[in-house]
Assembly symmetry: none
Homo-oligomer: 416 residues x 2
């Protein structure tokens, strides 16, 4: 079974936004064994959309964009033309839209009402996250699905509504994936450590590297029809990877460090708090991105200035004067300070130079000190994260969470 993705909108063609929707859709389709043969971005002009529909050569064609309430959203009339029908008021779509708008205490406007005009022969796919309705059509043995282009609307509709439709209507190879998140090893070093492993892989097994500042996600994939056999191969290869990479693998599922440490803290009935300088609140933000984090996180302090480090966190003036804000001594006092102030079991502290300004002799941009404190332990480490402000913040945040993970693992693995 093959699929094609068509993205509609001038924003991509003029390079104003990057087409992340297609990458996300491609990765979701790949996971269930659908082979994508083409991803195409076209202008929001009738002729371009019509041509793309006519020239599509896959079993399933997914369209995103052009369903908004503005004048340049013209996907619907083109769909009506292509499927030889007309636009009519669709009651189901209108009611969905009304519910959505009412829930936010807003009113339907004229533009919204026009959004309820849909091609007469479409199958409505409800959108709980916005006013643009998704639609399905069939023609010449192909299935066409049109979705809104707003990423969070598209992603939710795809996961909740469209994925089940695909699984129901197509016979797909069994595809098994195993996600293995790794932290603390650069991608090139990882590749080097896995050279022999890759040489010995069976032909239908694939190993993908998905690097980001927060982790490298390794993904083993295998396709075939004997599910038990596929499972046993994946299991064996996963075990081999564990032997090679050891503790650099931080979880056995597709999660980030904030979720992993959250689980560990919850299990242990313990809490953590954060004292952030150069990461500016990003660690707290990561921790609280996990629903239920209030069970182990009561909060933190962003101490951007030395005055706040001293007055709120209790870092000694002398420490700041003698060693500077970016030093082992300062982060250690910050970690202990936040732990005491918030009465938590662990304290995380970060202080560094995110850049572009702030460098000093011996402390170039990218220098970051991180400390983790518990009642009976205090560790700290110095890192160099490079020249990019955003990347330094992201890498420092993940590294701090990884240091907490190591302390937590150590604790729970001890036997009385």
């Amino acid at each position: 079974m093959t699929a094609e993705i068509i993205t509609i909108g001038d924003e991509i063609l003029i390079g104003q936004i990057i087409d992340t929707n297609s990458a996300w859709l491609a990765s979701e389709l790949d996971k269930i064994g659908v082979s994508i043969i083409k991803i195409i971005s076209i202008s929001d002009k009738s002729e371009a959309i019509f041509n793309a529909l006519e020239n599509s050569g896959a079993d399933l064609i997914l369209l995103t964009g052009g369903l908004g309430p503005t004048a340049d959203d013209i996907t619907k009339p083109v769909l009506a033309e292509f499927f030889e029908t007309r636009l009519v008021h669709n009651k189901t779509a209108f009611e969905n839209m009304q519910n959505f708008v009412l829930q936010r205490g807003m009113k339907l406007n004229k533009g919204n009402k026009e959004q309820a005009l849909l091609p007469e022969n479409c199958t409505v796919i409800p959108n709980k996250y916005g006013t643009a309705t998704a639609m399905m059509f069939q023609k010449a043995g192909k299935r066409f699905i049109s979705m809104p282009g707003v990423p969070f609307e598209m992603k939710n509709i795809f996961t909740e509504e469209i994925l089940p439709i695909i699984k129901e209507n197509y016979t797909l190879d069994t595809v098994i994936h195993k996600n293995i998140p790794v932290f603390g090893v650069p991608e090139s070093v990882l590749a080097e450590r896995l050279v022999d492993f890759e040489k010995m892989m069976p032909e239908n097994l694939n190993l993908a590297y998905l690097p980001s500042p927060e982790r490298v996600l390794l993904r083993l994939s295998i396709a075939g029809n004997d599910k038990n056999l596929l499972n046993s191969i994946i299991k064996e290869k996963n075990k081999e990877l564990k032997n090679i990479l050891g503790n650099d693998i931080f979880a056995s599922e597709n999660i980030f460090l904030e979720e992993l440490v959250g689980k560990k803290l919850k299990k242990a009935g313990q809490t953590v708090s954060t004292a952030e300088s150069c990461t500016g609140g990003n660690i707290a933000k990561l921790i609280t991105s996990i629903s239920g984090s209030s069970e182990y996180f009561e909060g933190g302090v962003v101490a951007y200035s030395n005055r706040i480090k001293n007055e709120i966190l209790g870092v000694k003036e002398l420490t700041l004067m003698d060693f500077g804000a970016v030093s082992k001594e300062t982060v250690e006092e910050m970690a202990v300070g936040i732990m005491k102030l918030y009465g938590s079991d662990y304290g995380i502290a970060v202080s560094g130079i995110a850049g572009p300004g702030g460098a000093s002799p011996g402390k170039p941009v990218g220098t970051v000190w991180i400390a983790v404190a518990s009642k009976n332990k205090l560790i700290s480490e110095k890192y160099s994260f490079g020249n990019l402000r955003d990347v330094t913040v992201r890498r420092a945040s993940a590294t701090a969470l990884n240091m907490l993970r190591k302390i937590l693992s150590h604790k729970t693995s001890r036997r009385p």
Copy 2:
């Protein structure tokens, strides 16, 4: 003049990497007035590449990828087939390659030597940044340029070699853009308010909407050959938009709210601090994403639990008991509390239910209270941001910054 971009490689089709090359190329071409009609990603299979070449309908076709030394790099043989020629050893390309390799103290390997085999009728475009040679072809009035897919190689070759070729060979329109960021108005309402404006637009003027939880970016674009005329139209239309949208336009350039309030605070020599519950540090993170923010931001407190709201921020126990953590009374005390604790000129506070848990009668998921305090002013507002945790955090953060902007604007517009 029209262009088309073709990206070759399976990594994009399986969603493993996002196609940032195309976005970059599109934006560079758009700047010089080249109109991109299609961006397409295809597999590294001969048939897919050949078809894409055959079906290209633009004056200029830019290809990236598939020029490396490995077995899956098959762009060159397909180009030879399409342009009805054969691969021959190219002396110029080989010497360029030798120079590149020598400069790094490396040696040419067998794979590299094969990279010097090029279609006989191509025009060589030298690559100073790698071993893959870029090439130009002409056929049926169209120009085809094939570039390596490694982003920094492609970008440098494009800027240094290909851009001059385009400017020399095509007569291009002048293109002028004006970015207008708007906050606080849903896209559909915005469209309604701009119906008449859009009706009266000259034909060569385009208005694009780029919505996100943080803002809607409006972009006026105009193309033509009389630069002064274009500039005066853009100026006039921008003025009209300002009359219609007034204070909902928050800046006259392509920036986000955190940068705007940063500029205003810096100019006024004032500081702000943040007290965050449901946004969990995201506002502090946004503020500190701006380099130089330490001049107006000393820090903030993440107060996820009631205990911290009370003990650190000084919210009265009685307030929390009588009105709850998500209430006008609580956020107002939080805003005043953080302002006093950090000694800042302004205090921002947010408390809400990001979900999925935490709802109570009358306070559904998505309910958020936001307050902004200054020495002589205290404002607060209740919002409903919907069901998605991440979107609620992002919208609440931007809304809080927008409330701060309004207080700041009010202040600076006052005359003594």
